[in-house]
Structures are given as structure tokens and as C-alpha cells.
Amino acid sequence: MNLIQVIKLAVAGIRANKMRSILTMLGVIIGVAAVIVLVSLAQGATKSVTGSIQGLGSNLVTISMRNTPITLTYNEVMEWKNRPGIRGIAPVISGNVTVKYGNKKYDTGLEGTNSEYEQVRNTHVQEGRFIMPIDLSFRQKVVLLGTEVSRQLFAQGSPIGETIKINGINFKVVGLLVEKGAAAFGSNDDKVVIPLTTAERVMNSKGVRSVYIQAATPGDVDTVVAQLDNYLYRKTKNTDVYRVSNQVEMLSTVNQVTGMLTLMLGGIAGISLFVGGIGIMNIMLVTVTERTREIGIRKAIGAKRRDILRQFLIEAVVVSGIGGIIGILVGALVSRIIGSLMAVEISMSLKVVGMAFGFAVLVGIVFGMYPANKAAKLNPIEALRFE
């Protein structure tokens, strides 16, 4: 008995019992759809977190100092430039300020830095210019606006060339930053950037507590971290007051967490697929009982065990396979709806789709095996006598 025929027969059987088949498939449909939706969500989250970490700048090493009166000076930090493996250094003084334009007031974050910040933090202007070395030398009162700040003060209009007040001091807007979008850790667009030397005045603080450093290559990251760690330890003699962290480390932590998340969500969805499999087994057992006489007839005219086994196994696989296909469609649709409703990133990979479908078929085989085997082992005369 060839395969196409058995499949045709199986499809005819499914058609003959439409309602029952749909209900049986429902378990698989929900299972496969759940796998796809949950895994797509988890992978989407992974992708957006990874993206925003990488958006911070490439080969980034971050230094931050806390709970200590010791700070770094600008010149001290910039001397690290001579060390091997360091491409860029952007010290940052940060704080919270109130910005004002006309009668519009807005509270936002301020970062005082130098021109290298553009490359190190991968932060560019969409309009105007970035901070230049000369701005630091002359403590220029110039400012770059994040898109959120610009929106608050200027609505849709261009802020370039306007004068705003930061904590009461007049600043000229020279640039508008590129929108970075929602980030994993607060918005990158809700801030203003000014020259570091100017910021020392505005914030009334001397000394740098955080520095962004760009290693020349990914391979240099570790040595840069080691050098700076060493430097800071010699300076502070206390490992608790400073931190040298790098992006690769952060990424791997994130990947670990999201990998767990994916696995857990996938596992939960897998359980529903498993339950769907039990549904298939249940219905196949009923089907085998109902069709005992048919099995007897087939055996009487020469069907071997394997013919019967194959027939029922293929029926189970066709049910789970069709359920799998419908589940993929439903899953894709639901993922898309959730993605647009909740404005989260959805990443539906072919691998996940393939895996979910393969798993559905496997469920059909595993849970179809017992009923099919039961059918194949029926005694022909007893089967024929069955009413």
C-alpha cells in the first residue's frame, strides 16, 4: 500500500469526522502556536536588549566610581590614550538639570563630555554639529539635544541656533542627536549633552566619575579592562569603589538570562504540545476501537501487521501535521498582533518554525504508535466479530 494512498485515506478519515478531528488538532494547534509565540517573543526581547547594548558603542568598556571622594581628572583620563588597545576615551560628568525655552520647562539628564563621545558611544547628530575640542578649551556654552528634549521644547520645529537655559544659564543649541529609540535602561533620547569643562561649572563639580572607553578591537577589550582595573586599584586601594565593566560581559549575561527565558517559555509551550499529543492518542484509541471491524476486514483480505500499523500511524501524523501547519499560521498571526499591540520586537525564526512543526509531527508519531500498534496486533477473527 503506497504512501500517497494512505495519506489520502487518512485525510478522508479526518474529513469524515470533521468536528472530532478539529478538536483533536486543537491541542496541537494551541501547542505549536504557543511555542512559536512565546519563543518569538523571547527571541525578540533578546534581540532588542542585545541591540541596545551594542547601540551603546562597540568594544565599549565602562568605568564608574561610587562612594568615594577620589575622582579622576580629565587630563589623567585622557593620558590613557597612550596605552595600547585604546582607541577612544569619553569621560562623562552627569546630573539632572532643568532646561527652559521661552515658557517651556523640562527636567532631563545632562552629560558633559568631549568630542570622542560621538564615536565611543556611537551617538551622532542628525542636524547641526557635535561637540568639538575647542568647545572644551573655551568652556563654550553649547548644547546638543536628545530628540525627546527637543520635542518637549520645540515640538516639531528645529532647535538648531536657538538659545535655551540650563539651570538658568544660557546655552546655544548646536546639534540634535539621532533618535536611539526605547532602550533597555531608560531612554537614550531624554538628555542633553554639553562640553565637559562647561558641565563642571553647571554641575558645580570637579572630577570625573565615569568614563567610556573604546577598545580598538574586541580582542583588546580584556587587556584594556585589566589595565584600567589595575590603575584604579593602585589609585583607590579599594575594589568596592570602582567598577570596570565591559559590553561583552554584559552581552553574555543578557544572553544567559534570555536563553533561560527562551528555554522556559519554550518548555511551557512544549508541555501544551505534549498535552495535545495525549489528545491525539486518546482519539486514535477511540478510532481504533470504532474501526476494529475494518481492521478485521483488511486483515482478512491480506493486510499485514505493518500495513495496519502504517495506516494508523500515518493518520495520527497527518492529524498532528495539519495541526502543526495551522498552529504555525496561528502562531505567526498572534505574534504579529502581540508585537504591534505591545510595541515589542518579535523575532520569528525559520528554525523555531521548523522545530515546532517537527515537534508536532514527532508528537503524532510518539502518541500514534501505541494505538496503531494496538490496531496492528488485533486478531482477525475477533476483529471481524466485533460489532
Partner: protein, 225 residues
């Protein structure tokens, strides 16, 4: 050539042993037409199932074309049922979801025959029983007599040398019964071995040889009862 030697079939129900067949021996030559008669419960169907390789004896030997069938395994028996024997049942036993043609094709499918040849052979078998115009009908769209003719066509399709029929006319009115008997007699004339069970002595009389059973034994074997 069928040879039974001291075939026994016992059923154990609780403490009671039922001897459905109790030492049956017989020879049936190729091309014979044999009627098996006897009271209800005398073991006719049990014997027929044995001949049809659907059941295995508790004791004794069964030779089909000098091959000892009673020693074969399930798959080999399935093969014999498929190629050497054609079974016709009292209750037709057609598959309700399939058309007449598809029902007749079934044994050929299990032979592994290609679709084109299979269709041709099945259509020919249905033509032989006078149902050329009912190929696409399902069993529920056919009369009892027509259903039994489809069943005979199915038994014939694989061109087996032996046709076994357990009360083939039992569920039919007398006119349809006569038609079925005419077909079976035709098969006998074409050289097939035909073995049938019946309660109707008149039908039994149409066979060349009559075997009468009683309590699991053969009590008469000869020309007419």
C-alpha cells in the same frame, strides 16, 4: 489441494472446554465445489476460518498445496489470504467509506500492484459479477445482493484458486441468493475451488459434494446429504 489432518479447535471458557472442532480430517481437490452444512454451533464457521487461514488450530495439521499452513507465522498467513484465498462473508464486510471499485481494489493494494493495473483488474472483477455500472457507488447505495456481488468481486480480484463463502446467501432474499449461487457456480465452472457454508439444503444440493458437521465432527461427506 487442501488437506486437513485431525484438526481440533478448543475454546476454554471458565471451567468448560468447548470443542468447536474435534478431529476434523478431509481432502479437497483443486476445482471442487463443496457445501458444508450442519446445525447451528456445529463448528462450520470455525472450520471455515481455519481453511481461510484466519484462525490457527489447537491441534492437527493443515496443508495447502502440500505446504503446512498450520506452521506459518502471521505475515505468511496474511500473504496466503491475500494471494491464494478469497473470502465471502454472510454480512458482506465491505468498507463503508470506500466505493465498490475501491473495495475491490483493496486486496490488490496489499499485493503492491500499481494503480493502473489495479483499477483495470478491479473493474474487470466487478464486470464479472454484473456491476459495471456501479463502480463509484458506496455500499450504502447498493442493495444487499449487489453488496454481496461486490464482496465476491473483491474475493476474485486477486485471482485466487480458492473461494471460501460463509453463508453467502444468509442475509439475502431468495432471488438475490440464487444470483449469488449462479455466480459461485460460474466460478466453479471456471476451475476455481469453491467451498461454501449454507443452511439451505437446496443450495447445498447444487454443489458436487456435501460435508455435514455435527458437534465439531464431520458426520457425512459425499455427493448429497
Amino acid at each position: 489441494m487442501i488437506e486437513l489432518v485431525n484438526i481440533c479447535k478448543y475454546y476454554q471458557t471458565g471451567p468448560v472446554t468447548i470443542k468447536a472442532l474435534d478431529g476434523v480430517g478431509m481432502n479437497i481437490k483443486n476445482g471442487e465445489m463443496v457445501a458444508i452444512i450442519g446445525p447451528s454451533g456445529s463448528g462450520k464457521s470455525t472450520l471455515m476460518n481455519m481453511l481461510g487461514c484466519l484462525d490457527v488450530p489447537t491441534d492437527g495439521q493443515y496443508f495447502l498445496d502440500s505446504k503446512e499452513v498450520s506452521k506459518l507465522d502471521e505475515d505468511d498467513l496474511a500473504d496466503i489470504r491475500n494471494k491464494k484465498l478469497g473470502f465471502v462473508f454472510q454480512s458482506f464486510n465491505l468498507l463503508a467509506r470506500l466505493t465498490a471499485l475501491e473495495n475491490v481494489e483493496l486486496p490488490l493494494i496489499y499485493q503492491g500492484m500499481g494503480a493502473v493495473e489495479r483499477r483495470e483488474r478491479a473493474a474487470k472483477a466487478l464486470e464479472l459479477v454484473g456491476l459495471s455500472d456501479r463502480l463509484e457507488h458506496t455500499p450504502t447505495e447498493l442493495s444487499g445482493g449487489q453488496q454481496q456481488r461486490v464482496a465476491i468481486a473483491r474475493a476474485l480480484a486477486g485471482d485466487p484458486p480458492v473461494i471460501l463463502a460463509d453463508e453467502p446467501t444468509g442475509n439475502l432474499d431468495s432471488r438475490s441468493g440464487l444470483e449469488i449461487m449462479e455466480i459461485l457456480k460460474g466460478l466453479h465452472r471456471d476451475g476455481k475451488t469453491v467451498i461454501l457454508i449454507t443452511h439451505d439444503l437446496q443450495i447445498a444440493g447444487q454443489a458436487g459434494r456435501v460435508i455435514r458437521m455435527h458437534d465439531g465432527r464431520i458426520v457425512h461427506d459425499g455427493e448429497v446429504a
